[in-house]
């Protein structure tokens, strides 16, 4: 580590372009160990995956536009739901927030780069091959697995070789996440500028510290689950086969021990972004910083203790049903604290509503609805009716799309000036927000009713009484998909713009990247650490 920094000191560290080992063109991106380059690559990768997974969602919604089989056959439909889920969770949302982490953590704690720059490069470059494996699985004999993103055994044992490709993709994604997380933990614990105590860190850094621990804890568990599936498929083991002494439900326990913390791995960095944006546009410090940190930490701990609430219908013993219900309901307390804190931050502020703030308010509003539908689902007898219906689909999209994705949009609009040096088009940004907000609710709000009335999820066809809501949902989906092309246009326009952005375009922003660094952020920043009072 010190060798790397010493090496940098020997050169002209203020001007990256003068660096003699700095390759140009494609090789710059292949070989880069710079946290900003790697952050950029993570973000672009995640956007490409977002469009890929989004295209699959369009296929799903097109097929469900009206009853009957129209566009794809049931096998392809199941492959689309599976890949849509896997690609959006592991390819789009997680890498997007790792991109934010790479760009922002060093700048916000006053560090010159991530602790392990080469491992950082490797963490990123593992992602494209994993994504390719997932996509290639569509074209092998038998196609991609049609089992849902949860990959439940023993259905997975019946699949073709696409399943094996998916398993390897999961292994590679897991390695990438674990290395990325080790890097983040080490950076935050060791490379903070003098005076930057843990309780002075911006909340975004705190949320990533906690998320990274969650990832290190659960990714190996998921890798274990899919490896057991692999050996059941090919090497005659019977982990999930009752005839050999195994148990299919064992898979679900292992999967959800990973899967529930995974939900928070996605949500917690989103909390972090919103906790930076709302105070900035309220021109008022974050309300209850300390309680925010404790709330995030307790959500993270509780997330390990509630996994079987995804399994109420598997035939758990009644005592387990009751325990998981109580523990799950308890999560509403720290989640409530966070929502109240955000509202209290806005209270008596001096609010303005630029695009990042609009997306954060959209997040706050819709994430709260998603939280409440989660509370409804935590009640065992109610969940028995709603498990595996469109109500659940609506619930987790309120949390994943309106929660994580909206907060990612908020973050991108918020930091885009710092990253590119140019201001984005405020009008187009606002149009993007309103289109996304309206179409999102068109897609998913009606799905609550579909689930209540009894439409199961993961079906390619449905009874005619569900037609109206499905049509509304599909039209919303097409609108939402198209709106994201506008987002792409806004970003490209910003990059190509010639209008320089000020160092601190947001009046209320107060973290180091705004107060100490010029815009755009230089290629190497904080080679000499700032002093934090």
């Amino acid at each position: 580590m010190s060798a790397v920094i010493g090496h940098e000191h020997d050169h002209d560290h203020d001007h990256a372009h003068g660096h003699e080992y700095h390759p140009g063109g494609l090789m710059r991106w292949v070989k880069t160990t710079n946290h900003k380059d790697i952050g950029t690559m993570y973000l672009w990768f995640s956007f490409v995956m977002f469009l890929t997974g989004g295209f699959m969602a369009m296929v799903i919604r097109a097929e469900l536009f009206k009853p009957g089989m129209q566009i794809v056959n049931p096998e392809v439909f199941n492959q689309m739901t599976t890949l849509h889920g896997l690609i959006m969770v592991f390819g789009a949302i997680m890498p997007a927030f790792v991109g934010f982490a790479n760009w922002l953590i060093p700048m916000q704690i006053g560090a010159p780069d991530m602790a392990f720059p080469r491992m950082n490069n490797w963490s990123f470059w593992l992602l494209p091959p994993a994504a390719l494996l997932l996509i290639i699985s569509l074209f092998v004999p038998g196609g991609a697995p049609g089992v849902g993103w949860t990959l439940y055994a023993p259905l997975t044992v019946q699949q073709g070789m696409g399943m094996d490709l998916t398993i390897f993709a999961v292994h590679i994604l897991g390695m990438s996440s674990i290395m990325g997380s080790i890097n983040i933990v080490t950076t935050i614990l060791n490379l903070r500028a003098p005076g930057m105590t843990l309780m002075k860190m911006p909340l975004f850094v705190w949320t990533w510290l906690i998320t990274a621990y969650l990832l290190i804890a659960v990714m190996p568990v998921f890798a274990g689950a899919v490896t057991m599936t692999l050996t059941d498929r090919h090497f005659g083991t019977h982990f999930f086969n009752a005839a050999g002494g195994g148990d299919p439900v064992l898979y679900q326990h292992i999967f959800w021990f990973f899967g529930h913390p995974e939900v928070y791995i996605i949500a917690i960095p989103a909390f972090g972004v919103v906790s930076q944006v709302i105070p900035a546009f309220s021109r008022k410090p974050l309300f209850g910083y300390t309680s925010m940190v404790y709330a995030v930490a307790s959500i993270a701990i509780l997330s390990f203790l509630v996994w079987a609430h995804h399994m109420y219908t598997t035939g758990l013993p009644v005592t387990a049903q009751l325990y998981y219900m109580y523990a799950t309901m308890l999560i509403a307390v720290p989640t409530g604290v966070k929502v109240f804190n955000w509202v209290a931050t806005m209270w008596k502020g001096s609010l303005t509503f630029e695009t990042p703030m609009l997306f954060s308010l959209g997040f706050l509003f819709l994430f709260t609805i998603g939280g409440f539908s989660g509370l409804v689902l935590s009640i065992v007898p109610v969940d028995i009716q709603l498990q595996d219906t469109y109500y659940v689909v609506a619930h987790f999209h309120y949390v994943m799309v309106a929660g994580a994705l909206f907060s990612a949009f908020a973050g991108i609009y918020f930091w885009l000036p710092k990253w590119t040096g140019h201001m984005y088009d405020e009008t187009l940004g606002k149009v993007h927000f309103w289109l996304s907000f309206i179409f999102f609710n068109m897609i998913f709000f009606v799905q609550h009713f579909l689930g209540l009335a009894g439409m199961p999820r993961r079906v390619p066809d449905y009874a005619p009484q569900f037609t109206d809501f499905n049509m509304i949902s599909s039209i919303g989906a097409f609108g939402f998909g198209l709106s994201q092309l506008l987002f792409l246009y806004v970003v490209i326009k910003t990059i190509r713009s010639h209008e320089p952005a000020p160092q601190k375009p947001w009046e209320g922003a107060d973290s180091l990247e705004w107060t100490h660094l010029p815009t755009p952020a230089p290629y190497h920043s904080f080679v000499t650490p700032p002093t934090v009072k």
């Binding site: 009853p67 009957g68 089989m69 439940y152 023993p154 259905l155 019946q158 009752a242 005839a243 050999g244 002494g245 299919p248 439900v249 008022k284 410090p285 309300f287 910083y289 300390t290 219908t313 598997t314 035939g315 009751l322 219900m325 509403a332 307390v333 409530g336 604290v337 509202v343 209290a344 008596k348 502020g349 001096s350 609010l351 509503f353 308010l361 706050l364 709260t368 609805i369 509370l375 409804v376 065992v380 007898p381 109610v382 028995i384 009716q385 219906t389 068109m442 009606v446 009713f449 209540l452 009335a453 009894g454 199961p456 993961r458 079906v459 005619p464 109206d468 049509m471 509304i472 039209i475």
Partner: protein, 364 residues
């Protein structure tokens, strides 16, 4: 087409704003299906309570949010205050939710206990999920109705024609929710269902009964319902089970007990008797040792999932005491964790019987 579509979107948008308006008109679309068991009714009521509590809290939180969006904006000249903590408020909004949650948990706990109480049923039906159909078998068991339908077996397969699914014919009234042979049960009787599956996990779900239970291959789960009104009730498989997952509905016909007895009588004579298995063995001359080594030994050699171990005299003694026919039947139709014919559905009956005889001999 486009015009009606826009009307539908308009209607959708309108009803999102004023859900109360269409609520009364077409209630079934907006909420749980009408409950017809005590369990389903409790689920319905619990959902209503929780929903109302959530809406009330939402109004409070969003009210505060909207208030500050309207009155605390910079454009009307509001100056930012600088407070950033308030211990009293923070304690209050941590503690009050805990009490609200306890208020929800109490009735929920009561419902869970009622829902899981499968004791003293009037009759028991074994439900088996297959890719992609449901198998039903009326078990011999305790209860008021024991004996009426013992041994009746049926398979329930989607009866919607492919022409309707692929759009070559107009869709029927019960499109995708109709089967060739529905399950028939008596009204007002506690019916216990034992669920298992033959291949992958399925889930047996009838919304009006409040029953959704996974059917796990190699294991038995149970649930129950007591329907309050005769009629035809429809549900679907609720766990992704492969390509035809959307095409294995459940139809339950609930009839008066007298009619049920009549129906059972008819089906009992139609069902082939499996009683004289000894004759099959004698006539078929199945390969006992070979079948044991090929199939049964997977579990019975080491005693997997409670299977009596091969040659274990203590474990076999009480079983042998029930008689050879009972053991043959258990092997043919499955028992506890053991699926029918040990999961090898295409094994000839003669081989299964011979294997049982072989194992009995070894344990005597």
């Amino acid at each position: 087409m486009i015009k009606t579509l826009f009307q539908k979107i308009g209607a959708g948008a309108l009803t999102m704003l004023v859900p109360g308006m269409l609520w009364a008109q077409d209630r079934a679309k907006w909420n749980f299906q009408e409950p017809h068991t005590s369990v389903a009714r409790e689920m319905y009521d619990l959902h209503t309570i929780v929903l109302v509590i959530c809406v009330v809290i939402c109004v409070g939180v969003f009210g505060a949010m909207v208030y500050s969006i309207v009155y605390h904006r910079k454009s009307i000249g509001h100056k930012a205050a600088h407070f950033h903590e308030n211990t009293t408020v923070e304690i209050l909004w941590t503690v009050i939710p805990i009490f609200i949650l306890i208020g929800m948990a109490l009735p929920a706990t009561k419902s869970v206990l009622a829902m899981r109480d499968t004791s003293s049923p009037d009759m028991t039906i074994k439900v088996t999920g297959y890719q992609w159909k449901w198998g039903y078998e009326y078990l011999k068991g305790e209860g008021d109705l024991a004996g009426i339908a013992d041994g009746v077996q049926l398979f329930s397969v989607l009866s919607t024609p492919r022409e309707q699914i692929y759009g070559n014919e107009p869709k029927g009234e019960n499109y995708l929710l109709e089967v060739d042979t529905p399950l028939v049960v008596p009204v007002g009787k506690k019916v216990r269902v034992l669920l298992t599956a033959n291949d992958v996990i399925h889930a047996w779900w009838v919304p009006a009964f409040g029953v959704k239970q996974d059917a796990v291959p190699g294991f038995i789960r149970d649930s129950w319902f007591k329907v309050d009104k005769p009629g035809i009730y429809r549900g679907q498989c609720a766990e992704l089970c492969g390509k035809e997952h959307g095409f294995m509905p459940i139809v339950v016909e609930v009839v008066e007990p007298a009619k049920f007895a009549e129906w059972a009588g008819k089906h009992k004579t139609a069902a082939a008797p499996v009683a004289s298995t000894a004759a099959v063995a004698a006539a078929g001359g199945g390969d006992g040792k070979g079948t044991y080594e090929k199939v049964c030994s997977v579990c019975h050699a080491s005693g997997v999932a409670g299977a009596p171990k091969f040659g274990d005299k203590v474990a076999w003694k009480p079983r042998i005491a029930t008689g050879a026919d009972a053991l043959h039947n258990s092997a043919l139709k499955g028992k506890n964790a053991m699926p029918p014919k040990g999961g090898m559905a295409d094994l000839p009956d003669g081989d299964v019987v011979a294997a049982v005889d072989y194992m009995m001999k070894a344990a005597k």
